[in-house]
Subunit: 381 residues, 2 copies
């Protein structure tokens, strides 16, 4: 029997509660959810609910703490307290973990406990588990994928209908696929957080999210899809990490991909995550990237790893040596100041241009120089 | 340290030898390949090579036997002897295992050893591992996928080029993607073997391969692709297993799928395998379905599971209660005797017809009645 305390009982937490309470398997039945921190205890609610975090964090009977509150604070401080108190932690909170990973892994290592984050990246996709599995045999050389379901929903809707970004965003908000403040999603920050977590698992190094070069889809327009479609392409928001002999590059960017490619086939709010390594080669995992039950399933998988003793102890996470200079591409740029790209322009693309192969660093410098708030850029894959 | 003996050193075996000998990780270095059965020891070859199987099977220092000889015999008898001798076995041999699974799992269980088969299904795809992972939380309700790389290569080449089946098959043989006798691949038998293995892992039951309703691609023609293309579709060979309250249905059949779907995006000799379960929902895994190193990678993953003690003991595998009656579909049929389908025909489809929704059993009965050796049938997805 393993006793579990939980912080937060929203979308993910209520799914975890359902799976643990129903306990459909022998192993699952051995996990007992005993205390749950909620914002407000309503009438007739679960006797395990409490409004006091210390009821979970200070309970000596609780072996493991699940954190699915979201937000950086107070979630981060609660996780710190749990780890310092000798409890392993399972979190679905990518934003908090990407922000505080260096400190939290050090703390977990110091107290010889585990910090697991399968649910923080790719919802139900067993991404962290499979990266860990590959690393038993060989280093992961790179990864790439569609990390954010909200933007993928928006992009696949725009692809279908020729609709405008703002209309589709509003629709997504109405359906609950996008948050009221959608900035983290549409500016690529959520994907960048997940790239940070993936770099930790794949390469064993930590970088702040600011080190991930990030382009979002806030300024995408129907004309970009129209041009893509007329060229047998569509647009997806990709995140990438690469490990070149212990230096790491990482970026998030809209990409123009072939209409019959794996990435194009991932529609609605699904995710797909792809790893590359020497003998396994290319390995792809696709599933809903969010949602209550798939993400909760991932939380429970982490709990079962802990219960079965296969959750690796946390190691202190060294800082990544970043080197973005090797990242190159042909970039699609739509801007009111195209002159900035004149000397690297290869062709026109509707209202935009496509550069010859240049470095990502060169692109970033020119984007800054163009000083166009509404510039939209993507990479040609 | 775990000592490994190997039976066979062909495409898969030579990959296993390379990965184990190079030992790129700490865990990998703890696996020591000490003896290898080969057909003929050539000059200057590895000192570990032997032409005598008992040098592997009777060696008390060898903990685990890897079988990657292919073929039912003598591979099957060698595996029996290894298990009876108290050695765990890792096999990549789907044909042998699908044929002899009932006997072999009983033997493994009796001698309290493991029989692992990650490499036998989907090459490098961590399919068995992930089915096992899901089963920690909930039953797998169904699975479906592209299980055979040879036919997928043929189908994706026909899709591109409008080429004829025979020409593409010859090309595939020249490139080493198809065997000299391609019957097992093109008649769907190889896929059916993998469906049998997947049913064992997903549902914990065994069926003979003859219980899997199997339609191949031997009689596919360019006209079938032409019709598909003109309707925004393409053709893939799918295998499926479903568990309905302890009765199982299983089939292999060409399927007409949307050109922008996940299945359509899997080209060349890649595989994709998809599981369905209650809380995880749909989860898809794609990777090269064959090839020396990816398949060898899967063998080594099984060895590492054994080494780390996470390879589950084999259980006696009960016989499946088969019930194909729930399988229904709209079927595409091209035959010289279309009259047999007159009363269930919904529409014409070029040189073929499409039925209204009928049961698979009804389809099979009519196919038999049509007595057309060159009949081609597929399901509309």
């Amino acid at each position: 029997m393993m006793k579990v305390g939980m912080l937060g009982c929203g979308v993910v937490g209520s799914g975890v509660k359902k799976i643990l309470d129903e306990g459909k398997t022998e192993a699952g039945s051995d996990l007992q959810l005993t205390r749950i921190l909620v914002k407000e205890i309503g009438e007739g609610m679960d006797v395990r609910f409490t409004e006091c975090a210390d009821d979970v964090l200070d309970d000596p009977d609780i072996d493991v703490v699940v954190e699915c509150m979201g937000g950086i604070e107070p979630a981060g401080s609660f996780v710190e307290k749990a780890l310092a108190g000798g409890k392993s932690v399972v979190t679905s909170n990518k934003k908090m973990l990407a922000e505080k990973a260096a400190r939290l892994y050090a703390l977990a290592s110091e107290h010889d406990v585990c910090l697991l984050d399968e649910a923080a990246c790719g919802g139900g996709i067993p991404w962290m588990a499979n990266l860990k599995r590959i690393a038993r045999i060989e280093p992961v050389s790179s990864f790439q994928g569609i990390f954010n379901g909200t933007t993928n929903y928006i992009l696949s809707r725009m692809e279908m209908g020729g609709a405008d970004f703002q209309d589709v965003l509003k629709e997504a908000q109405k359906l609950g696929y996008a948050e009221r403040d959608p900035s983290d999603d549409i500016d690529g920050v959520d994907a960048a957080n997940k790239v940070v977590l993936s770099c930790m698992q794949a390469f064993g190094v930590y970088m702040p999210v600011s080190a991930v070069e990030t382009f979002g889809i806030r300024h995408i327009q129907a004309c970009d899809f129209a041009w893509a479609k007329s060229h047998g392409l569509t647009i997806r928001l990709l995140g990438t990490g690469e490990n070149h002999n212990h230096t790491v590059s990482a970026w998030v960017m809209p990409a123009f991909v072939k209409a019959d490619s794996l990435y194009a086939s991932i529609s609605a709010n699904d995710n797909v995550l792809v790893s590359h390594s020497e003998t396994l080669g290319t390995s792809a995992f696709a599933a809903p990237g969010a949602g209550s039950l798939p993400t909760a399933h991932a939380v429970v998988q982490d709990l079962l790893d802990l219960y079965e003793g296969s959750g690796a102890r946390a190691a202190v996470m060294p800082a990544a040596v970043m080197d973005q200079s090797s990242v190159k591409g042909r970039y699609y740029v739509r801007t009111v100041n195209p002159a900035v790209f004149d000397d690297v322009k290869q062709e026109d693309a509707g209202d935009a241009l496509i550069t010859r192969e240049i470095s990502l660093m060169d692109l970033c410098a020119r984007v800054q120089k163009a000083a166009d708030e509404k510039l939209f850029a993507g990479v040609m894959l």
